[in-house]
Amino acid sequence: MSSMTKQAQQRVGLLQGTLDMLILRTLLYGPAHGHQIGKHIQRTTNEFLQMQHGSLYPALHRLEERGWVSAKWETAPDRNREFKYYRLTEKGRKQLVVEESQWKQMAEAVARVMWPAAEES
C-alpha cells in the first residue's frame, strides 16, 4: 500500500518536474536568461506548451536553490543591458540525465499501455 502511494507520488512529481527538465535541457545549449528560456520552450513546442513566462521563475529559483543551475547578472551581447543569466552546473547536467531517463521510462510505459498493437507488429 505504502509503496504504491510512493510510486504514485513519484509519478506526479515527475510530471511536475517536467518543467524543470525542459529548463535544464534548454540550458544545455548555453546560458540564457528567463525570458529566453521561456521563449525557447514555447517556440520549440510550436506554442503547444502555452505557459505564462512568469511560471518559470519559481522553477528557476527552485533549481538554483538545489544547485542545478547557477545565476549571474551579465550584459546581453545584443542589447546593452544586464540580464540574469542561468547556467547549467555539473550537478544540473547529471540531474538532466536522471530526469531524461525517468521521463523515457515513463513515456515507454505509457506507450505500452496506450498502443499495445504497435508494440507487437
Partner: protein, 901 residues
Amino acid sequence: MKWWQIRERNADLERELRSDVELEEEEQRENGLSPEEARYAARRAFGNSTLIREQTHEAWGWVALERLGQDIRYGVRQLLRSPAFTVTAVLILALGIGAVTAVFSLIDTALLRMLPVEKPEQLVEFKAANPALPPNDTFSYPTFQTLNSQTQVLAGAFAFRKLFKVDVEVDGRGGLAEGQLVSGNYFTVLGVGAAQGRTILPIDESLAGQAPVAVIGYDYWRTRFALDPGIVGKHVLINSVPFTIVGVTKPEFYGVQLGDKVEISVPLTMIGSVYPGFAAAGSPADALKAPFRNWLHVMGRLQDGVTRERATASLSPAFAQSMREAAASLAGTPIDSPAVRQTFLNFRLQLEPGSQGLAVLRLQFSKPLWIVMGIVGLLLLITCANVANLLLVRANSREKEIALRFALGVGKGRLIRQLLTESILLGLGGGVMGVGLAYWGNRLLLALMARGRSPVLLSAHPDLRVLGFALGVSLLTALIFGTIPAWRIAGVDPSRGLMQNARNSAGSSTRSRLGKSLVVLQVAISLVLVVGAGLLTRTLANLKDFYPGFDRDNVLLFSVDPTVIGYKDVVPLYERLLTRLRAVPGVRLASMSVHEPLSMSISTTPIRVQGSASGQAEDLAPVNIEPVGPDYFATMGTPLFRGRDFSWGDRDGTTKVAIVSEGMARHYFGNADPIGRFVSIPGFVGDSSWIQIVGEIRDVKVHELRETGAFMLYLPLFQLPEGGATFELRTAIDPATVQGAALDAVKAIDPRLPVDSVKTLKVQLNDSLVQERLVGSLSGLFAVLGLLLTCVGLYGLMAYTVNRRTSEIGIRMALGADRSRVARMVLRETLVLVLCGLLLGFPGAVFASRLIASQLFGIKPWDPVTFTVACLLMAAVTITASYIPARRAASVDPMQVLRTE
C-alpha cells in the same frame, strides 16, 4: 539560501522580473504594437506577478518564517498605532508577570534550588526519630563515625555544627565571624572545591591538635581580606587559638543550610580549643568521646543507585548498635536513668532528602511563600482578564479593519494567528518589563526576609530558570488573554462589519456580555485577595499588639562574648559590666541572659522534680532552661507571680535557686505552690544536685509569639556562667539615645570585648514576625493592586457601554427620562456586575481563608467582620469607579444624539 538573505534575494527577483518584462515589452513593440498595447501584452504574457513572487518565495523555503515576520511587523505597526492601549496593556501585564516572577525567583532560591555541590540528589540528611519526641537531628561523634564507616551504601557521611559567632583575629585585629565545625571529609563528600589553596581534608580531622587549619568562605575572603592573594598560609587566631588558613571555598558555596552563610570552617576535633566549655574534654560528656552526647548534624552521600529505603534498612543495624552503646555509656553519669536510656534505644534512623541542604529555611518559609505565590497568581489572573477586556474594546474599533481584511481574502486561520501574534507581542513586552520589575521586587522581598532574627541571606539573581519561567508565564498569559478576543474577532461577519453603523451590531452585544463576565471574574478574584489580605494583616496587627509576657518598650539589647577573647572566669566581668551599665544616664535597670529574648535558640533538657504532683519522679517533657542575671524579671517587666527575682547574692557558693514559669509549675506541681520545691537538671548542670525554686512568673513567649506556654526554668547566670550573654537595658527614655553611652561603658571596661546584635527589644520582637510581615504586607499590597485593576476594568467596561449606548440614552432622554435616572441606570448595571462578582467570589474567599487558617493568629478564618468589610469595600470602590461613566451618561445631549441619528 539563508533567511537573512531574503531581502537581498527579493530585490534581485524584482530586478529580474522587471528586466524580463521590459524585454518582452520591447519585443512586442518591435512586432509593431503600440507602446500601450505592448505593455499590456507583456503583462499578459507574464501572468499574475504577485503570485509569481509568492511562488518564488516558496521555492526559497522560508515562507513560514516570512509570514511570521510579516505578522510581527504588522502586529508591531498595529500596536504602535494605538500607543495608549499598548502602553496600558504592557504596564498591566508587566505588573502581573513581574509579581509572579519575583515571587517565583524567591521560591526557586529558597525552596527549590539544590545545593551547589556535585550530584546533590545523592545527598541525605540523617535524623533519629522517636515517636514520643520531636525528631532529633543531631548525633554524637562516635555515632557519626559508625555511620561514616558504612561504605556499602554510603559514599561517605559528613558531620558539622554551626558555632556561635567566633572571634577571628587577623594581624592583631579581632572581628566576629560565622563559624562552623566540620568533619574532615565534609568538603570532599560534598564535592566542594577550593577557589584558593585547599579545603579541609580527612587528615586535618585526625591531626587537628598538631596543626590546626581553617578554610574560609569566598565572601569572607572578599569582605575581611579584600581577596588578598596571600591568604593561603595566613595565621589567624580563632577564639584566641592559632589557626592557619589553608584555603578559600568556591564562591557559590555558603554551607549546607540555605539562607545561612558560613564564613570560617575548622575541623570538628578542634572543638576542645575553640569552645572548651562546650567540649567538656575529659569529662564523661566529652563531645568527642561520649556516645550519648548528641551535637553534630550528619549528612551523607548515597552510593550510585542506592535508594534511601535501602540505605535506611542497611544502616539501621549499625545505628541500633550505636544507640545501645550510647545508652550503656550513660552508666555512672548524673543524667543516667532507665527512661533516658530508653529514649536512646527508641531512636530509629531516618534518612531524608538532602539535596537542598538542611530544611530549616524551607520549613520556615515554604507555607508563607506559597501563599504569596497564590496571591500573585490570582493577581496575574486579574491582569489577564483586564487585558482581555482591553482587547475586546479595541476589537470593536477594529471591526472595520478586520472585515476589510476578510473581504480581501485573508484566511480565518491566518487572521487568528495574526491576532495572537499581537497578543504574544504584548505578552512579551509585559514579560520584558515584568522581569525588570521582578528584579527590583526581588530585592524588596529579600530585604523583607533578611530582617528576621536569623537573617536569611539569599542571593536571588534572575537566572536562566527564572527567565524561562517569566517567558513561559508571558506566553501563557498572552494565550489566556489573547485567545478569546481573537476568536471573537475572527467571528466578524464581513458584510455587516463593512456596514457604516457597526456600533449596534449583534456581534458587539455578545462581546460586551463577554466583557461583563470578565469584570465579574475580576471582582470575584479581588474579593478573595481583599479577604485574604484582611485576615493576614489583622493577624500581623494582632501579633504586634499581643502581650508577650514582658514589656517590649524601652529596652536595649546587645550581646557580648568575653570568652572568645580569652576570658575564663566571666562572672566578675559581668558584675562590673552590669554595675557600670546601670550607672549610664537614662538606664533604669540592667540585667542579662544567655539567649536573646524571643530568639530561636534555647537549651532544652529533661528535668527531675522532687515530689512531683503527677507522681512521677521523672518526666521527659523538655523544659527550656535559661540562665539570667540579677533583677532580670524586673528589667524585662515580667510580673512575678510568686516568690522573688534573682539577686546579686545568687552566685557560686550560695544556695542553688531557680524561677519557674506558671505553665511549668502547673505541669509539675498542679495548683500547689511551687516555691520551696526542688528540681534537678543533671543534663544541664552536669550533676544531680537539687535546686530550690524561689519564684514563679507568668508565662512568657520565649521562641515566638504564637507558641503556647513553653515550660521555662530560669537559673541564676552567676551560678552557671556559660560563655557569652545578652544584656538587657531598661531605659527611662528612647533606648536608641542610650545606645552610644552604653556601648562606651562596655568599651571602658575592656575595649577588646566584641559587641554584637545591638537592637531594641521592640525591633527584636518585630523581627520575629518576619514571615507574618512578608505575607501580611505583600497580601495587602497585591490586594490593593488587584482592586485597582478591577476598578480600571470596570471603569473601562462601563465607559465603553455608555459610549456604545449614547444614542439609546439620548433617545430615552428625549422621551422624558431625567438625568439622575440615566445615571442610576448605569450605576444599577454596575451594582449587578459587582454583586455577581461578590457572589462568585464569596465561596472562593471562604475556601482561600481556610487554606491560610494555619497562618492566622487571633482571628478565625471565617471572621465575619473581615468578610463584611471586604464586601462593602469592594462594592464602594467599584461603584465609585463607575461614577464617571454614569456622570457621562447623564450628560448626554439628546439633541445632538438625535441629529447624528
